[in-house]
Amino acid sequence: MPDTVGTVDTPTPHGPGTAAPAGRPAAPPSAFSARSLITRLPAALRKLDPRTMVRRPVMFTVLVGSVVTTLACAADPSVFSVAVTACLWATVVFANLAEAVAEGRGRAQADALRRARTETTARLLRDGAETTVPATRLVPGDLVVCEAGDVIPGDGDVVEGVASVDESAVTGESAPVIRESGGDRSAVTGGTAVLSDRVVVRITAEPGATFLDRMIALVEGARRQKTPNEIALDALLASLTIVFLLAVVTLQPFAVWAGGPQTLTVLVALLVCLIPTTIGALLSAIGIAGMDRLVRRNVLAMSGRAVEAAGNITTLLLDKTGTITHGNRRAHDLVPVAGVDRADLAAAARLSSLADTTPEGRSVVELCGGAGGAAEAAAEAVPFSAETRMSGMDLPGGRSVRKGAATAVEAWVRRGGGAPAPDAAAVVDRISGEGGTPLLVAESGPEGARVLGVVHLKDVVKDGLRERFDRLRAMGIRTVMVTGDNPRTAAAIAAEAGVDDVLAEATPQDKLDLIRRAQEGGDMVAMTGDGTNDAPALAQADVGVAMNSGTTAAKEAGNMVDLDSDPTKLIEIVEIGKQLLITRGALTTFSIANDVAKYFAIVPAMFAAIPGYGGLAALNVMGLASAQSAILSAVVFNAVVIVLLIPLALRGVRYRPMPAAALLRRNLLVYGLGGLAAPFIGIKLIDLVVALIPGMA
């Protein structure tokens, strides 16, 4: 039995229906701590390799600047130049530290997963004979036998038998799940353990390319590629870096003309303060942390691109069953026909459902629990069959009760010599119209057959969905309920749940067509699915979340897998995608806005001492102690702000669903105006301290 992820730091998964409280995805507490900064320091230093740094243009520029000032410093050391050089190196290291800390959080999870991937042996079934081989020798198509106590040796589909499986190694969920051949619950994951029974599994994955292997690679960020938005932002940051590089390089001839040539150290300090180092340092950490936030909610995104796409979703396709309603219809009400006592109806309904072990049947018994006596011992149960579309019970003494589809029960009553009740037909129509399912209850005895009444079965819509859909609407996301129900039933449930649109009597092809149509119109579509039938639609959707309980085909087709198999999580995924982009945008704005204050610190420090340029001292609005302390303070601020913002980068900017304009106004105020003001205060405070260093004041 492998160690479980659940014991490491995977949060308790949300069960279906436990919608996260409004606006705050139930994120686990951040794993960020001051200690992780220190423990990840070696990793950060390893990242100083220029070959890896060159992928981050802004920080690479700082690295080159640091080397330049180090050389300048070696040639002509002073307290000031040593201090500035140290701060520049710190800036680079802090940037690497941000990335290293973000990666470190995934690494802990990867280690736990790796323990699940222990060397196992497989019982290979060939020509009816079992041989024991190492799991690594399995190839797709091989059949293996797994019995209680065995670890499933590789990813595959159950082709024979049914078993309960402990998937906690992958999902962190300790409750066993049923895996059986055929249908949509046939997929098993290598590394999970069979708890009972025996299954034959056909292997579908190459060794080393199993789901577990992919998970490990994903959470480690080993195959991380830049997402489109990261590339776009990098392009902008690179061009800002070029502009500022030009501004600083050309400043020297201007300064020479003015009569105050600047030292290399000061020019590099100015450059590093101006280029967007804050966002440049935190950009990759933000991306890694975004993936990590999904992993913490037990969702595996196959690429960062998918996470980003989640933020852009404009249409959500939600399966009715399991997402909008509690999967099963439940008995909601009893409607007796004229002349029948409600208690008699309840007793008959209960009797006829005792043999019915479906959730619907049990709900009828529950509803009628208090009514009627116990079943008589000699009673003979008539189970439901697709042919009769009825279930019931034959009691001693010739009395029978039946419950089932209206037409079937009516026919049964006629056969027994009775007449269908006209008021029952009206009730049946009414219930159908409301989206419910009517079940007719009837009895027959020596005195003939008669209809007793109707059981109203209803899809129960989960609590809190309406509010959730309202929030989605405010975010500009349209919800479409997909169901196999007839249009009337579907419309009634849709109205109750508050979705925007409904696709009734949906076939997998309809679903695919709907997605294509929406995409033609420029929409971005997200959906969940678990069946093999869903695979084409999952692949077509911009974000396709496959349920872990689903088939291998579905999991291959989607670009995310939800280990908890909770369809409502789609909403959280969208919010995480948005949060990722917002965090990038907010920190970029903050980074650029910071420059204004840095100018007011550095420009007067550089030039106010030149004869004829003394008026520039008026720009020293912060009243910084000296030219050197001003420049040093700006550089220190620039480095320190990176460390201070690491928690924000990892946690993500707080996101509350609201209309775009309100969100923009809020973030502009906080990160735009805040970004303007913060460095004025920060640099001044640092200067108060820096001025105490001998030779600085």
């Binding site: 050309t250 945008g585 720009l619 502009l668």
Partner: protein, 560 residues
């Protein structure tokens, strides 16, 4: 009437006339630039040139047409100047030197109209009319064509066709610039602007001396100089010359001509947006508002700096009057300066070199912002829209979506092109000024080399003006040197054509996209909040780039 009241009345008059013509003229622009039938004259022209006016061009073809046309124009204009003495009507003026001819040719084709020559002394009437005036029309028309092609790129979906450059060019000239020039030219003549083909007239002055008064086709050139945001004066003194600006209302009328097309083009844009269904008219208003806010800030700053100038001499005069149009006062000079540098015009009715340090700094900043307030004919609109895309990118991220403008996603390719566009002119200004300042010969060209910040401002102003295609000068700089003619020429042609390359490529990228529908989650791009963002982006992105340089020029001078 006090200067203040007069100044405010002038601003109010200008604003109300612009407001009155805004909708009708803007809608007219939208109509003639995007469809309808060809005029008979246009048809004849298309047949003559072998153009099929009903075939649209793919974006690379459109771009190639613009580039080839512009480079051919440079060649023609260069030749005209070099063979000047052998052509009629030129009064035997000598050919221009190669470097000056290159500089002038590039300058007029690039809608810059930087003049390192003295108009009345160097150019013959034919060169003025067939060369310079023709380019005044064509360079403005090219700007309009590129702007309209860019708007098509924004509004169309899933295509690579951006329209037909030759049709856009022809219509801009025939239906927009020519008719307005005729009307405006007549008004100028009525106001006392000179218009003749006569040789210079000799006069005896009251003091008994002899004076030569050069005449010429001034009014006809004057009107397109302003209307096409060109700025190249017939006379060296430009609109400060009494033959170009004989009365205060003529000066105000010229400001109106300068602002007319750039301002009303935002209405045309809004109308086209609404017609396409991608958004509402308010998209045009939002762009205009961003332009207007910066314009108003700049006008207020310049006026305040000029009116409240410090110093004994200026106190005695009531304002900084040296180098100003003494007949019309400081307010009109400030208004003219703001209009001429906020558009890529560069015509002047007072010398910017004579402005107070802060006043001169602000007009320089207007150019450094990329000529978008409201910018040159066409170039102002596409320049501002590119900045709007940049604002959309930053703002869109902050609402958690891949940024979109009018349903078009601002992805990696778009951001790269926007970045390159925004990068171009600052790179040209900084590199040009940097090289110039590093050359030992440069101080010789400065009029104020002893006041070091001011001398520096003169050089930086020249490159800011050239690279942003403005054309006005801190006239203190003697720029007719081999080095400046060549360097500024390069800055002008690159500052014009590189942005066009990027903006048309961007148009191609946008046109190819499938537009996404607007939802409640889409960043609204027609609101006051958005305008604020565009203004902030404009000021912060460009302002930050030039702050250290400006600190060593106008800011240092002003604070001392």
């Amino acid at each position: 009437m006090s200067d203040t009241v007069a100044g405010l009345l002038q601003i109010a008059l200008l604003t109300s006339v612009l407001a009155a013509v805004y909708a009708p003229f803007g809608d007219y622009l939208a109509r003639v630039l995007t469809g309808g039938r060809h005029l008979r004259a246009e048809h004849a022209l298309y047949r003559l040139c072998g153009v099929d006016p009903d075939t649209e061009q793919r974006w690379p073809v459109y771009l190639r047409s613009v580039l080839v046309f512009s480079l051919l124009s440079v060649l023609v204009l260069y030749t005209l100047q070099r063979v000047q003495p052998w052509l009629p009507l030129n009064q035997g003026r000598a050919p221009l030197d190669p470097d000056q001819a290159w500089n002038t040719a590039v300058s007029f084709v690039a809608n810059t109209n930087w003049q390192s020559y003295s108009g009345e002394a160097a150019m013959g009437h034919l060169t003025q009319m067939a060369g310079l005036a023709v380019q005044n029309f064509l360079s403005a028309a090219v700007g309009l064509a590129v702007a309209i092609a860019f708007v098509r790129g924004l509004l169309r979906g899933r295509t690579d066709l951006l329209g037909n450059f030759w049709v856009d060019l022809t219509r801009s000239v025939v239906r927009v610039l020519l008719p307005l020039s005729v009307i405006g030219g007549l008004a100028l003549v009525a106001g006392g602007v000179v218009q003749n083909l006569a040789a210079p007239t000799e006069y005896a002055t009251v003091a008994g001396g002899a004076q030569t008064l050069p005449g010429g086709p001034v009014a006809s050139q004057e009107v397109i100089k302003e209307l096409g945001t060109n700025g190249g004066g017939f006379y060296n003194a430009n609109s400060a010359h009494p033959f170009e600006g004989p009365a205060a209302w003529v000066s105000l009328f010229q400001i109106l001509l300068i602002l007319l097309i750039p301002v009303c083009l935002t209405r045309a844009y809004g109308t086209l947006v609404e017609r396409s269904g991608a958004g509402t008219r308010r998209h045009g208003y939002a762009v205009l508002a961003a332009m207007g806010v910066v314009f108003a800030l700049s006008l207020a700053a310049t006026t305040a700096a000029e009116v409240h100038a410090q110093g004994a001499a200026t106190q005695a005069a009531g304002a900084a009057m040296e180098g100003k149009e003494v007949r019309f006062g400081t307010w009109l000079s400030a208004l003219f300066a703001t209009a001429t540098t906020g558009t890529s015009t560069g015509a002047v009715n007072a010398f910017h070199d004579s402005f107070t340090p802060f006043g001169g700094g602000v007009v320089m900043l207007n150019m450094l912002l990329g000529e978008v307030t409201p910018g040159g004919v066409g170039s102002g609109l596409y320049g501002m829209l590119v900045l709007a895309l940049l604002a959309v990118f930053l703002g869109g991220l902050m609402i958690g979506r891949t940024p979109e403008y009018l349903g078009k996603r601002i992805g990696p390719r778009e951001v790269k092109l926007v970045s390159l566009y925004v990068l171009t002119t600052p790179a040209l200004v900084l590199t040009g000024t940097g090289i110039a300042m590093a050359l030992p010969s440069t101080p010789d060209s400065m009029a104020n080399a002893d006041v070091r910040p001011h001398g520096f401002s003169e050089v930086m102003y020249a490159f800011a003006s050239a690279a942003n295609n403005n054309g006005s000068a801190f006239a203190g700089l003697s720029a007719d040197t081999y080095v400046f003619n060549t360097g500024l020429g390069l800055a002008m042609i690159l500052g014009r054509l590189l942005p066009i390359v990027f903006v048309l490529t961007l148009a191609g990228a946008l046109a190819a996209q499938r537009p996404a529908p607007a939802t409640a989650g889409t960043l609204p791009t027609h609101t006051a909040l958005f305008t604020t963002m565009v203004v902030a982006t404009t000021l912060v992105i460009t302002g930050l780039t030039f702050f250290p340089a400006l600190a060593l020029g106008p800011i240092a001078e002003g604070l001392n």
